[in-house]
């Protein structure tokens, strides 16, 4: 049986880049615990050895520009300047 607690939730929220509000912390801890308890049934499944695993192949195309739509994409930027996306400073000013 999987244990899942608030500390783990906060750790996950950190990994996911997803700050949580107080009410979400309480609610999600319980809900995710229930979800993990449900999926735990898979741990007991015996894997048959006569079935090959799923195979995937890469499908690639030439790495060449097909469209010139820079202006349309830049227009979606929350802030742009001279053809660049503008973001806040990476480091705080000290």
């Amino acid at each position: 049986m999987t244990t899942f607690n608030k500390e783990e939730l906060l750790h996950l929220a950190g990994l996911a880049g997803l700050p949580l509000a107080e009410h979400e912390i309480a609610l999600f801890s319980e809900q995710i615990k229930a979800i993990l308890a449900y999926v735990d049934q898979l741990k007991d499944v015996q894997i048959r050895t006569d079935i090959p695993p799923l195979r995937t192949d890469n499908v690639l195309r030439e790495d060449s520009a097909e469209r010139k739509a820079n202006a349309a994409f830049l227009a979606q930027g929350p802030e742009t300047e001279d053809g660049y996306f503008v973001v806040p400073k990476i480091l705080d000013e000290k």
Partner: protein, 476 residues
């Protein structure tokens, strides 16, 4: 013609010049204005007049789910995160509809990023079921289904990752198909679970569904997972009869599982009898790993969600939180305020099942059982022509009944997620009504690329039963 005319009826009326494309546009625009406040199915209606009345769908209006890019239009995926996002390019499915002469009239409501089974996780309010406004139309293609059912459009595009077209089709007395993975292009469809996401069509009849699928068919080189096939005319597969030697396999879980509502079971049993009268042989088939479908889907879809939704950080497009004091702070605040609760829950579970120490037990194990499930399905189709189950084990949800109980909502897709995980097709078709008049659906599953077979079987069933002719009260 009337508001509940099929695409085929409208095509005929247009061809015979009984109505013009411009008049059709005005007719549906007026209906959306009048009835949408009741059902909240349509997020935006475009005022442009139709340009073309030639082609397979010449002059036929349609609506498109809000996670499918329509060039120059807002495409918000039901999320506050993309509230002001305007698609800089056209999705392949939208392009193919336009090429076939269809008139794209607007975009429809949905669960945020297509995550949900009730439509209630939309950032723009829940869509309502025209058959009972106190109930959900089913999700995540909630608005597409509600709009067709209320006669606000003759057809709509939805998307399905694990039930999101078939569940609302069943709850709204419509036809909806999950095609073989790779059959319809995903280019320009906002990603959620890339290994199962597919576009599906919501229509009143099987023939309409086959017609729209025809216009979407054929490989798209912009989507690396698109199957290299030439365009296909699915209309040619509708014979009106079940194929020779047809055997329907009832999935054993339908017989065994508690939790199927009695009204749904009654309709399912009656539908199987109807198929027998049409000449079908019936067998019960055990697909042993099907019972793990929901758990497999949880793991696979949450893992891919965590990966696909990491891109929403406020840098290049979409919402950006104000007042961030540095870059990381901007990422965090944008995500905190841009995503709703269901999306957050899924991202968190996805990070859990992929994290060091858990990946083998969850994600890798799920991929092994996925292969097993596929082998079992393939084996079943050596015994029977198609498999069958109720589309949803329950009647349409009462609004607010599953919001705080995610597992109850997920279990509604018990019969819908297994074939999505292995990328094989299934079609839901109306199977009649509960005593209180709520729609129930039955679905048929076939092997990979068996769309012609499924359209034919569903069409034969539909023509013998005719449930699609009934329409919801109050939307005349």
């Amino acid at each position: 013609m009337n508001a509940f005319s099929t695409v085929h009826d409208l095509k005929r009326a247009l061809e015979q010049k009984k109505i013009s494309a411009a008049e059709l546009h005005a007719f549906y625009a007026e209906r959306i204005k009048k009835y949408n406040p009741q059902v909240n199915a349509v997020l935006e209606t475009f005022s442009e007049k139709p340009k073309n009345d030639t082609g397979l769908l010449g002059g036929i209006p349609c609506l498109i789910k809000d996670n499918i890019c329509q060039e120059g239009r807002t495409t918000s995926a039901g999320s506050a995160m993309l509230k002001n996002y305007k698609a800089p390019y056209q999705s392949t499915v939208a392009k193919r509809l336009v090429d076939a002469g269809a008139h794209l009239m607007g975009r429809t409501n949905m669960d945020e990023f297509a995550m949900g089974g009730s439509g209630e996780f939309s950032a723009y309010g829940a869509a309502k079921n025209p058959w009972d406004l106190s109930r959900s139309p089913g999700g995540s293609s909630s608005g597409s289904a509600a709009a067709v059912a209320a006669g606000l459009t003759p057809f709509a595009l939805g998307t399905e990752t694990g039930g999101s077209v078939r569940l609302p089709a069943a709850h709204c007395n419509l036809v909806g198909m999950y095609p073989t993975y790779g059959l319809h292009s995903r280019f320009g469809v906002i990603a959620f679970t890339s290994s199962t996401d597919q576009v599906g069509v919501l229509t009143r009849t099987v023939a309409d569904n086959a017609l729209v699928a025809t216009t979407l068919s054929g490989q798209d080189t912009h989507d690396a997972t698109s199957i290299p096939l030439a365009p296909k005319n699915y209309m040619a597969s509708l014979t009106g009869k079940l194929p020779a030697g047809f055997t329907v396999g009832i999935i054993k879980d339908v017989v065994d599982t508690e939790g199927i509502a009695p009204e749904v079971r009654e309709r399912f049993d009656a539908s199987i009898k109807q198929l027998e009268q049409l000449g079908a042989k019936v067998k019960v088939v055990d697909v042993a790993s099907l019972r793990y479908g929901i758990a497999l889907y949880f793991i696979i879809s949450r893992a891919e969600t965590a990966s696909n939704l990491y891109r929403y950080d406020g840098s290049l497009y979409g919402n950006r939180a104000k007042d961030a004091h540095n870059l990381i702070d901007m990422y965090l605040k944008t995500r905190e305020h841009g995503f709703g609760s269901e999306v957050k829950r899924r991202i968190l579970v996805g990070n859990y099942v992929l994290s060091a120490g858990h990946k083998d037990a969850y994600y890798n194990k799920a991929q092994l059982i996925r292969a097993q499930l596929r082998a079992e399905f393939e084996k079943a189709f050596h015994e029977v022509t198609v498999l069958a189950s109720p589309t949803s084990p329950t009647l349409p949800f009462k609004l607010n009944s599953v919001l705080d109980d995610p597992i109850a909502m997920y279990l509604a897709d018990y019969f819908n997620v297994p074939n999505c995980i292995i990328g094989t097709p299934a079609i839901s078709v109306p199977a009649g009504f509960s005593p209180e008049g709520l729609p129930v659906g039955i679905q048929f599953f076939g092997p990979r690329l068996s769309e012609e077979l499924l359209f034919n079987v569903a069409h034969a069933f539909e023509q013998a039963t005719g449930y699609y002719t009934k329409t919801p009260a109050g939307f005349e």
